[in-house]
Symmetry: C2
């Protein structure tokens, strides 16, 4: 086997880790993803940096915490000038291409201030989070009374569908994400009563196979070391799967819901507010879970089959031998666990994601098929890819805050150099903020998880939450106000605050550069702290010795005579 | 009197607050600066954000803490894209010009990444910290074995001197900052034994009057609302003053040195390392202080006379009636206090600076000649100027972290909305780091000062320092390990950590925008959490009702027949 030359970075959206059989699902078999895991390392304790698409991805694509890049919620633009995966990789000689979703919102105001515009290579990269774009498709083209959620959503995909004969102005919605009834009425997949029905689309035309093919088309023509971010929307909602995946799974296959009445009754005020938002209240109904879970599992099964297609193709074309393959998700999905819908809280169901890394290099042979319990963050992928591109991650360590996974993949260490994983959630732009009566500044919360403990800190004067991940892996027993755990909370706050104090904005000088400067101080004539010239180190002051000058009085005299 | 239309932002470099008579110097009379104070508000508790030129100024010019912008030491470039005073003011219709020093280092790597280059309006602004440049002169052109400290230093000033007949390739050094002996040998002002001698230059050609004239030349031609940053290098070293200021002050005029043997003996390890660096050891010698102080005071006296010239000119030209005038310094100078030279520690002698604000508006009449004890930070000037330009500081409150001073100037409040002032010092690129054996990441320290207490936190495992500013204004008694003060330290750490947790990078969406978004959630078709279409709010889902679609099987059949 050759060394990894390229990187194929596969991301699904809202894919729960425990809905893959290699991560333990008892009924949903995902043999192809399991096959990738058998060839690589399956990370069991990988955390995303924000439990919502946009913010999570901005961290993954910059290798920086949300607290460092600031784009804390969907559609908060990533500030212009923030260095990205693409910027780093290109510097190391690797191209960086997007096929699919990023949820990037361009900082149009910042771009305008700097005179950058789309239609130029640099402007497009800044607007697209550092990627060169093969196809951007965020996988969302819903429409409401105020217009389209994303005017650029699914454009190429819709064109593809129309060319195949699918009708309407938005076949993304009317076919890929809806069913029909006997009269031909569109039954939108947004309404979960429709989730058990098959999507009104041929399976091969549905989103996952379409985007997988687009990825293969990219790789087929790509030359030179490349990173391909193949980023697929499913199993993100609308929850609806095409045949034969629709109806493939029923209640007997479902994981039991992880919620108790005691958990609801005793919930922390922020959690209680999340539990009682419209989405959560809907997911609290048994019929909703039952309607959704079959579709969700069908979509995961389709993903797995498509990974099978992809792996076959990679093997056939020789790309398995020279390409690192990473498979992950941007966050999970509560699906009713903890009385929550969606993903925007810190429980494992959302924040702990699948992460499988296959490295073809012979150095990785020792770890193939192993499971790593290392505390991993998704920001670790940037330095990993940078290392694959031939760079030394230390060169970008003043910008990218993660740690390369290569030492683990190559059996050189078993842990990452960190004691806690961080996840952050900014709910300033959500109705939750209003319901809690919290200011825009304070509508932020932070998770610090060690292997044993998970602390959740809330700005705005709320008490923290705390879970014992070892004795309470279901995260049912909040120890945030347990007197016996005061010391643990203090210890976890110590870690959290040390993290807040990290050096995250000094991105214009590397650590090596800074260390080198101190050795050179004073060699450019700033001769501070010297009393007598005779005491001076001649190395520092050589330029001043023996100079002559005319007295100023004579100069002024000359001025008046000339 | 009219309302303020323009802003004249005067900054001196290394000017100690207590070397002005309005701030209490008993022997050094500064009647012109005192006259400005009598027309405005003299802030008695104004802190800079870093005790070193470049970092302090980057905070002042961006309105953001060092921890937010990252440029923590001289010549660490300000990251491209960081919004500046100039960006904000121009948006509000006010131009923003530089006359003098900024210590800005351009982020050339970032500029290259974004395709920005000098010679364009935008590229020049990015490279010059957001200013349009009338004259940039950082006031430093020393030369050492590795070349010039600043190849762009004092270029126009040197050209001016040469045109006036001053000789040599660097009259900035050989004349403005050196004396001569009877044989015409240049006696460099860098060597403090030469400080009592007069600089070999006519007073009117020395740096302060030169730059003051350049400022007046700018203002004379300026149109429309403008902000002029008139930024002068003195009394920064080399310590040497022209006649008649040389020799104007002697030991009887000096403030007593603020240091005790007990302070030295008990010093915290980081402080001890600072006390024993070459500059500090030099300043520990009595002859050094005596040589330097006369020159320093002479330079301050010259500054005051030049402020007199400026104020007369402003009155004559009518600018006093429509121009806000701010006078401050980027930090102080220890001059041997606390066994330190230079400025890079957190004692008041360096971090608490003069700040005088004159507002011609009638609303400010009530506070003229008053002294404010409000806890002010120098980052407050950006929102103040933005308000003068007609903007609402809340519009930029997600970027600029300070608070406008106008409410204090207009008598609407007496305090700023903060409990602590922050100052930060990054010594990663200094020899101090090596001597302490601290990593580049950990070579950072932080001051949090309330009106009563000053906490100094050091990364790298050192204990904190703590001073009682009320009972120990000389900051001689470090209570950092006093058992009785454990509660105070905890309280101050609480403030410090709340500050670390602030929201400082979400700069692409204003607080108002974020609050507005939450009211609009779901109105673009993302209809999450709805089970039955019949339960849906028709406002959110109107676009899906009544749509018809062809069954996918028919579409596929058509594909094969066409």
């Amino acid at each position: 086997m050759a060394r990894a030359k390229n990187v194929l970075f596969i991301m699904f959206d809202q894919l729960r880790r425990d809905y893959l059989s290699c991560y333990g699902h008892p009924h949903l078999k995902t043999p192809h993803i399991d096959r990738l895991a058998a060839k690589g390392v399956r990370f069991d304790r990988a955390y995303i940096q924000a439990p919502i698409c946009g913010a999570s991805r901005m961290s993954t694509y910059t290798g920086r915490y949300v607290n460092s890049h600031g784009a804390g919620w969907n559609n908060i633009p990533l500030r212009v000038g923030e260095p990205t995966m693409g910027d780093h990789l290109r510097k190391a000689g690797m191209s960086c291409w997007l096929v699919g979703k990023t949820h990037m919102a361009a900082d149009t105001e910042g771009m305008e201030r700097l005179g950058l515009s789309r239609g130029t290579t640099i402007g497009d990269r800044v607007a697209e989070c550092g990627f060169d774009v093969w196809e951007r498709d965020d996988g969302m083209r819903p429409e409401g009374p105020d217009g389209l959620y994303d005017p650029n959503g699914a454009q190429a995909y819709n064109a593809y569908l129309r060319a195949k004969g699918y009708g309407g102005d938005n076949p993304w919605h009317d076919h890929a994400n809806s069913a029909i009834d006997a009269e031909g009425n569109v039954l939108s997949g947004w309404f979960m009563e429709n989730s058990p029905r098959p999507a009104n689309i041929a399976e091969e035309d549905s989103e996952t196979p379409y985007m997988m093919r687009r990825g293969m088309e990219f790789m087929e023509q790509a030359e030179g070391p490349w990173c391909c971010h193949l980023s697929l929307i499913k199993p993100h909602w609308p929850y609806i799967a095409p045949e034969p995946y629709a109806g493939m799974y029923g209640p007997a296959d479902f994981l039991p819901v992880n919620r108790t009445q005691a958990e609801f009754d005793a919930a922390h005020p922020v959690l209680k507010a999340a539990m009682t938002n419209p989405v959560s209240l809907t997911f609290a109904r048994t019929e909703v879970r039952e309607a959704v879970l079959g579709a969700y599992m069908g979509l995961v099964k389709q993903i797995d089959d498509q990974i099978g297609v992809l792996l076959d193709w990679l093997e056939r074309t020789g790309r398995m031998a020279d390409t690192m393959i990473v498979l992950t998700s941007d966050h999970g999905d509560f699906l009713g666990d903890h009385w929550l819908g969606e993903k925007s809280f810190f429980f494992d169901a959302s924040t702990r994601v699948p992460l499988i890394v296959y490295d073809p290099s012979p150095e990785a042979d020792a770890t193939r098929g192993t499971v790593s319990d290392a505390l991993v963050e998704q920001i670790d992928v940037v330095p990993t890819f940078y290392a694959v591109a031939g760079g030394d991650p230390e060169e970008i360590g003043h910008i990218a805050e993660g740690h390369s996974l290569l030492p683990i993949l190559h059996g050189e260490r078993t842990e990452q150099p960190r004691q806690i994983a961080i996840c952050e959630y900014d709910y300033s732009a959500t109705p939750l903020r209003g319901r809690l009566g919290v200011s825009v500044e304070d509508a932020r919360c932070f998770m610090a998880a060690s292997k044993r403990w998970k602390l959740m800190h809330f700005e705005g004067g709320f008490r923290p939450m705390l879970f014992d991940l070892e004795n309470d892996p279901e995260e049912q027993h909040d120890l945030g106000d347990s007197p016996e755990h005061a010391g643990i909370r203090e210890e976890m706050y110590g870690h959290l605050h040390a993290w807040f104090r990290r050096c995250d904005q000094r991105i214009t000088k590397s650590r090596r550069d800074l260390a080198a400067i101190s050795a050179k101080i004073g060699r450019r004539g700033v001769a501070t702290g010297i009393y007598a010239e005779s005491e001076a180190d001649p190395e520092r002051v050589v330029k001043y010795r023996g100079r002559k000058a005319q007295p100023w009085q004579d100069i002024v005299k000359n001025q008046s005579t000339t």
